[in-house]
Amino acid sequence: MGRGRAPGIGTVSPNSLITARSISWAPVEGEPVLGPLDLEVVPGESVAVLGPNGAGKTTLVRLLSGVLSPTTGGLRWQSEPYEALTRRALAREIGYLPQDREETVPLTIRELVALSRYPHRPFWSTGLTGADRGAVERALETTRMGPLSHRPLVELSGGERQMAFLTAVAAQEASLWILDEPTRHLDPRHCLQVASLLRARHEAGTTLLFVTHDLSLAANLATRVVVLEAGRIAADGPPERILEPASLEQLFDAPFHVHRDGEETLVGLRYP
């Protein structure tokens, strides 16, 4: 957890969680779909990643969470290059919710959540420690999934399943959550449930970075908005500056209206 010099890939801000320098990714023998770009995530932020379909949002969060390695450039967790960390060590710091979430997971919620303690478990241990069991119970409590915890994921509705996966992320007790479309395919009630969970986690000190198409969610949950376009960062700044009609229209090539009501902001498409 040291900080300081960062040989090779340029400077590292002393207190960034993630520092990405000139990262790009291209499929084997294919055109690059992302980058090169620079990005930093600092503690306590809540970063919304927006952008049109195919802009490279999912590739970006897969790179940041370490499940995919960049074709060029380098990533650091604090001062450690990702290559120097094991997947398990990185998973203790970053809890990642992928976009492709299986619908036929043959595990119960409690089994999935307990398995998510994997990065904390020594290789030789045979079961959960007391600390693991505590983390599982806390996670089930934060998402209020306790009463459903014995049910297999295949039997759950889409919204319940999403809460189950988020419970698994919570049990990892990472300091940064990277979430790929956490409210995708959810009905309004479950969207609200996910949003309030994320707000509570953020207020409790967890750093968030999430991909979304829901601009109102971004406006109400994010402290910073990053807009991707054709694999590059097209805008990066506070939500008040980016989530306003003129810049949105330019970024998404569609008309928007923004309505502010006290703490709350509504961002919507201007339908014909």
Binding site: R62, L112, L115
Partner: protein, 328 residues
């Protein structure tokens, strides 16, 4: 829901069942032998029981257990219920290696178990690495691997036919018989040869049970929870090629045990690998002992290669799995 205790009880039940099969199977055959006679020291009975049938039953137990546990790990790893060592090139690669050893060593190969064994290892490992290499180039993740595995298996089978064509008539006949899969051993040499490799494979797979469990939630979920997928694939493929290579060298490729057993058990005892892997060993072992019993007795005094028995059961089962997947 399957509680941990009910799963443990089921495992105990399977262990008892397998024990009964292993004790009873050696007494059954073209010439029934009673355990009492063998223990009393009746020379014919003890020769048949201790020298002929027990080694064979033990080899079937180890082999079946190895194939079924490997199949369970492969099905989770490749996220496909039709994956097993036989369909994925590992067994075919091993068979190709052993065939080459038979061709080169001629009639002496039977006396040179370690040579055939090493050749089978080499073949299984070469096939595995080819699968990894091709899989990496042909697509992302497990789908690319699965396609590469099928392609390598088919190529190996074609090469085996070529090797058989090159061999002289007696040798060809021997190879063809061996390719049918058989457990017709005399004495404990083969059992003692397979034992350490089987233990290595089974123990190794069991050590990786948590990672395999996480794979049930999807590859991205597993990676996000800290599973190093590339390393896990490499290790499981290596472990399975070692065990299956060793088995193929003595018994030939025996198909479908690794397909049927894990598939049926997963429904009954749940998908968690801590229980599933040992259960697959027990049931796979017991199943192959029974198949071999059928092979010994159905056409007695003639013997059927056990690979034919498992294939006759496995082919229709394969179709049933496909059908159920389409409708379910």
């Amino acid at each position: 829901m399957k509680s941990p205790t009910s799963r443990s009880w089921k495992l105990l039940l399977l262990a008892a069942g397998t024990l009964v099969v292993v004790v009873v199977a050696p007494t059954v055959g073209s010439h029934p032998v009673s355990l009492a006679d063998a223990f009393r020291g009746d020379p014919t009975a003890s020769t048949i029981l201790w020298k002929l049938r027990l080694p064979r039953v033990l080899l079937a137990l180890l082999g079946g257990g190895l194939l079924a546990s490997s199949g369970a790990a492969f099905q989770t790893l490749f996220r496909n219920p039709l994956a097993e060592p036989y369909t994925l090139g590992v067994a075919s690669g091993g068979a190709l290696g052993a065939s080459l050893a038979f061709l080169v060593a001629g009639g002496r190969a039977g006396a040179l178990l370690p040579v055939a064994g090493l050749a089978a290892f080499g073949g299984a490992l070469a096939a595995t690495f080819l699968v990894l290499l091709l899989g990496r180039r042909s697509g992302v993740g497990s789908h690319g691997l699965l396609l590469a595995g099928v392609a390598v298996a088919l190529t190996c089978q074609a090469l085996i036919l070529f090797v058989q064509y090159l061999a002289d008539a007696t040798e060809t006949l021997r190879m063809v018989r061996w390719m049918m899969g058989g457990l017709g051993v005399v004495g404990y040499r083969e059992v003692l040869w397979v034992l350490p490799w089987a233990l290595l494979t089974l123990g190794g797979l069991f050590l990786w049970r948590w990672e395999l469990d996480l794979l049930l939630a999807g590859e991205e979920m597993a990676a996000g929870r800290g599973v190093a997928l590339g390393r896990l694939r490499l290790i499981v493929l290596l472990l399975v090629s070692l065990g299956v290579g060793a088995l193929v060298a003595v018994a030939g490729p025996i198909g479908f045990v690794g397909l049927i057993v894990p598939h049926l058990l997963r429904g009954w005892i749940g998908p968690g690998h801590r229980i599933l892997l040992p259960a697959c060993f027990l049931v796979g072992g017991g199943f192959l002992v029974l198949c071999d019993l059928g092979a010994r007795t159905l056409l007695a005094p003639a013997e059927l290669p056990v690979g034919i028995v498992t294939a006759l059961l496995g082919g229709p089962f394969f179709l049933w799995v496909l059908r159920r997947r389409r409708t379910g």
